[in-house]
Symmetry: C2
């Protein structure tokens, strides 16, 4: 175990590396040539153009104004300046609420730290348990922790007091925060600017009808069942193949530009490629000719496919976006059940148009459930057998394995530095690569599950990733062995033993987690601000693809706030803070530094860098809130386990009810918060909708909602120039009598089961 | 352990006692004097009047037609005759669905029994484990059970096969049944006759408004937010005190009649009572005078209180029943959220008027949650410390204790028969009395929790009682010791040990549960049909209170289907059947006899006896369904535990995944069913509402909905003759501009926070 001194050294190393990142960032960001890497958001907003500097060619790429370097940290106060309403305007509710998570961490942990340092550090320090005992391994950290209190001491009451105080404070802050975020969300949904999703509802699982097309069926259904509110609808086309073609064409175009650029620079050598599979074999042909022809071919295919999608009724999926005359009408339709079979005509709030994940709109109800079942089994295996493939790859990727697989590289591998790299770093790097893939794997799993909006996919992925981190990072480091070994270990332990085992090993792991926080937290966040990968990619693209200003625009990769990958990691810090605040309070300052630093960096990033992929109105907050409460409950049980091993039999009887009350009250607090706030994230109050509708009618009486909404939910593939005619929709206002094919069949008029009986009776 | 012979004897005894009950019933029900006890439902329906027989005074009381006695079991086919639609008409959806639970038991267990007898009985019987071993206690039952299979045998595959087959069959039947019940409910809600609750919504937690009364506030809020649909509303008065007065007056009247009757029969002795506390002390006064005066006093008080309730704005609770112009409007309002604060203006389907539990309508949101928290803690103590008060009472109620408490009874107690009664039966009777109180206690707890309809109170009570039975009857008989001892026992066992412990003791308890089924099931149901307590009460009332035909009407106590007390007990039989169908299939016939007999008896009772207290449209079905699935999962884990102790190490590895898949698939099946059907019990499809609305407009265009709904949700205390003027409601149709006090205050007109901003802007 590391001593305070070791921790100090580690802290200095990590601080220095973080500082190095920051200095590198400070220098790089001032270079005009990197401007599009570090300030892409402003370019996207059209508020910044490629820098125009005095003619000198060097200053176009390098910043020679040395005074600016002196103020290399001035981005920090800059990042804090923008007030929140403006930030919402600039970066969206999602991003603003996301950085509030870091702020919440500060709000929770600074007072807790103050209390823990005032109460627990003196109590622990003077505990004298470790002074007297003949313990082999103890260190100054342990002297500040609960380990320094002797068995059965009365001092544990101080810890119970701090546990209560910190739980109460955390719940109070969570409540306040939930209140604020809910208000922001309601403001966003109803009172903010007019957006198509305020008026629209996504309808899925439209039942097949032998007499009608999906188009007609949807229209008739909503005209009958929402007669005063239905305005228009947009069917969903199965354009996945078309999207693939467009994607392929875009990549071909990139290659064409690349070879054209090459040819321009070296006009003597005409570039050629092999025409076969992946350019690896086949006849050698002229590259520019080849790609020009391929693009022509694809353009034709694309046109044919486009034609087919629009004209073929088979290409229409049993889903639609239905828009209403008022927010009230949409709110009603989204919150109610439409038919007696709740697996048909499923209505939900339409996601923002850019938030729609088009590929999943047509999955039937039962298939969706089967997919969910399979993915939860897969998640179980991912979490508990995560180490199996890694161990397998590691066993191959050793010296002998590599030599066997690549005999021709034997000499290279046998060389000293390569050998020691393979031996020393390769297993770690393989682990890291697998770990980096987890967010992508869980995102893929969520996509397979079949959810219909990017925001929801991200939330589902975050939930999976959180479980993964909880088991593999938190528990995996507290208890030795792989996750599956832990699981079978715990299955054979009693319900009272499990918290005791975890609780007892928690103080011993404090130094490990402090180091973890510094490496993953401090240095990781500093690396985030530097954006090494986008920086390199931008310059490579700039070198080979960019000719015009528009190309440069496209080469720019602002990235986005990857909620699914970042949020579960923040949750780990909440968990560590809450678990250790009573046990080893010395860990708290490290967490607070992380939260403060990350808050700064991400505030800077959302102002200057990240693009907004979609806007969900902070729909993720209930998840964040719930996970912090889960962390709180875990901290209670670990404290219970720790104290049950440390207290005398008599005090245990007195404290167990006290300690058991904590998780019960926390879970109760969760139900209160759920009842009080969660519906704001699921439903949409009619009062707000009505208010906004009324206001809008008063301020903008001539608004043509129909033309505003007509193309809002068109598949993005149909947007951007190509003419597309939406299916003719009945323009008649009021409640027209819609002639259905079915109503012409007199034999079925009397059937009550049909969806349009209302029409026939009117 | 009992042998087959013992079981046979016990079966004969219980069959005989059941037969005795049935014969007693057959004789008693034919006596005209008991007609109102055994056929009260027909009296309530007005289809039967007091029997008019030939003048002879004896035949008025006793049936002398001996031919009718010969057909003493003919009520059984009679009970099966009424077809289901007519039965729904006659007894309501709740009752019909309730008896379908018994039918479901038959549908599930008859095929399972056939399979288990065909497969498992031969496999077990030839297992020969118990023939060879030197077991001290084994019997023929055990030879038919899984205990007869030797350790590590391959025959266990047969049991796994039956477990799969029975799980699949149970799930299939549950799915079919859920489908049928859902259809019945939807039919009831939308398509059935017009009822006030189809148009009405219960609004709770109306926020206080400094400028307006609750009455005005509700009207304005709904006029603004449901402008096209709001029709009228009915505020809720705090009439609890008034109801108490009315109740007290009724009881006084009963006493008055009693003494008047006494006086008529024995005119020589004027009846007197003591005027003090409970008639135990005080001056002796003339009883008739006393009660006449008391009644006069109460009548005055009642009138004053009634006046006060109607005129005092403080007596209006922050809750209201809001009625809409159409079912569609009510369906929308019930399913949507009204304001941004989801703890205010809570809307839900109005219960049927007779289903409303008026006392709980005004509990604020947070208080409701605190009550729920306290009641769940109380439930925990009720379940796990249930034995503590019983043991205490039993310790007092022994010979010595009684002699100490009642020294003057010493001689009596010391007598032989009394002594042996106190020693032998008193502890058992005390336990039984406490057990009989449990349904009342959990109902009281549910009432304290603060739910607003009788049907929901019953469902909550049933859930509590189910937990109680599960822990104290099922687990309590499998594992020795009190519930709390079991709990602490299990807390110290590992997750793999708990199913093993339960699984291993399950086969040993088969004979106990067979006896339990015969006593509690067979004899208990037979006692139900006899209605001993109502029979006695009716004749006592008849003797002392009844003078007129109307008094006789009131003395009749038809009782009602006590869902909260009966359903959890049925669930115990499902649990036993599912757990034992693989382990000891010989138990199944006993359960099937129970289900068949109970089906017959309760079908007879709902046709002839029980009154309908309310009608919830089978809202309890999701609970029934879920509990059967819980039983299924328990059966899987007990089988897993049993087999893990019985299988060889090698086969365990092969079977554990197979056995673990069973509960996982069952839980998945639960989520499927929940998604597919449950919303029919929570929401109300708009299509059905619209269809019925349209039909009604077409068939009954002149319907005056306003007068139909005006008094539907009046507190029952205001009904029945006393003139009551509902608060004047704006009769203007359309969307009137409602003048609120607030709109006269110019300073607040611009505020967006108010509920009636819509009005001001229109």
């Amino acid at each position: 175990m590391a001593d305070l001194y070791d921790i100090g050294v580690s802290a200095i190393i990590n601080l220095l590396s973080a500082l190095a990142f920051l200095i590198a960032f400070a220098i790089l960001r001032l270079q005009p040539v990197n401007d599009r890497v570090y300030f892409p958001k402003w370019y996207l907003k059209g508020l910044r153009a490629s820098p125009i500097r005095p003619k000198g060619s060097l200053t176009k790429f390098v910043n020679l104004d040395f005074r600016t370097y002196l103020r290399f940290l001035n981005w920090m106060p800059e990042a804090l300046k923008m007030p929140e309403p403006e930030l919402i305007e600039h970066a969206g509710v999602d991003s603003v609420v996301y950085i509030r998570i870091y702020l919440l961490g500060l709000k929770i942990f600074i007072p807790i730290m103050a209390l823990a340092f005032a109460v627990l550090v003196p109590v622990n320090w003077t505990g004298k348990m470790l002074d007297n005992a003949q313990y082999v391994s103890f260190n100054s950290i342990d002297k500040l922790s609960i380990s320094n209190i002797p068995q059965g001491s009365n001092r544990f009451w101080a810890h119970i007091f701090v546990a209560y105080a910190s739980t109460l404070w955390t719940c109070y802050m969570l409540y306040k925060e939930y209140e604020i975020v809910t208000a922001m969300r309601l403001e966003f949904i109803a009172v903010a600017d007019r957006r198509p999703d305020q008026f629209s509802v996504l309808v899925r699982n439209v039942p097949p009808d032998p007499d009608e097309s999906v188009n007609g069926h949807v229209e008739h259904f909503f005209r009958v069942n929402h007669p005063d509110h239905y305005l228009l609808h947009q069917v969903v086309y199965n354009a996945n193949k078309l999207a693939d073609l467009v994607e392929k064409k875009k990549s071909m175009k990139n290659w064409l530009i690349y070879y054209q650029n090459m040819y321009e620079r070296r006009p003597l050598r005409k570039p050629t490629i092999k025409a076969g599979f992946w350019g690896l074999w086949g006849a050698r042909v002229d590259a520019i000719d080849y790609y020009t022809k391929e693009i022509e071919k694809l353009t034709e295919q694309e046109a044919a496919e486009r034609e087919k999608v629009i004209s073929d009724p088979e290409a229409i999926l049993p889903a639609a976006f239905v828009s209403f005359r008022s927010r009230w009408g949409a709110a009603v339709c989204a919150q109610t059940q439409q038919t007696s079979n709740p697996t048909l005509w499923l209505t939900e709030w339409a996601p923002e148009p850019s938030d729609v994940y088009w590929n999943n709109l047509a999955i039937p109800y039962v298939e969706h459930n089967i997919r969910k079942l399979f993915m939860s089994v897969a998640l179980f295996f991912l979490i508990f057998f995560f180490m199996v493939p890694i161990t397998f790859v590691q066993s191959i990727a050793n010296i002998d394995g590599l030599e066997k697989a690549f005999p021709f590289m034997k000499n290279l591998i046998e060389q000293g530095p390569v050998r020691s790299f393979v031996k020393g770093y390769l297993p770690g790097i393989i682990l890291k690569i697998f770990l980096l893939c987890i967010p992508m794997v869980v995102m893929l799993m969520s996509k397979i599950e079949g959810f219909t909006s990017f925001s929801y996919l991200e939330r589902r992925s975050a939930a999976k990733y959180y479980l993964f981190i909880l088991v593999n990072v938190f528990l995996g480091n507290i208890i030795a062995g792989t996750a599956f070994q832990q699981l079978s270990h715990f299955l054979h332990k009693s319900a009272t033993d499990i918290p005791r085992i975890i609780g007892e090993s928690i103080p011993m792991k404090a130094t490990f987690f402090i180091t973890y926080i510094m490496i993953d937290g401090w240095a990781g966040v500093a690396a985030e601000v530097l954006r090494i990968v986008p920086l390199l990619l931008f310059h490579i693209k700039n070198a080979v693809l960019v000719k015009t200003e528009q190309d440069r625009e496209e080469a720019m990769d602002p990235g986005f706030l990857d909620f699914a990958a970042y949020e579960p990691r923040i949750q780990l810090y909440f968990l560590l803070g809450l678990v250790y605040c009573v046990v080893t309070p010395i860990l708290l300052p490290f967490i607070i530094v992380f939260f403060a630093f990350a808050y700064l960096v991400f505030r800077h990033q959302i102002i200057n860098v990240y693009d907004r992929k979609y806007e969900s109105g902070a729909a993720f907050w209930p998840d964040v809130h719930r996970r912090i409460l889960v962390a709180l409950v875990i901290s209670h049980f670990s404290l219970l386990g720790l104290l049950s091993a440390k207290l005398s039999i008599k005090s245990i009887k007195a404290t167990i009810p006290l300690l058991l009350a904590l998780p019960i009250l926390t879970i109760w607090f969760h139900t209160i918060c759920k009842g009080r706030f969660e519906s704001a994230f699921k439903k949409f109050p009619l009062q707000d909708a009505m208010m906004k509708d009324t206001l809008e009618r008063a301020t903008d009486p001539t608004l043509d909602l129909r033309s505003y909404l007509r193309d809002a939910y068109l598949h993005p593939i149909f947007k951007g120039g190509e003419v597309y005619a939406p299916p003719p929709s009945d323009e008649e206002e009021g409640f027209p009598l819609v002639a259905t094919k079915r109503s012409q069949r007199s034999s079925r008029v009397t059937s009550l089961a049909g969806s349009d009986v209302g029409v026939q009776l009117v």
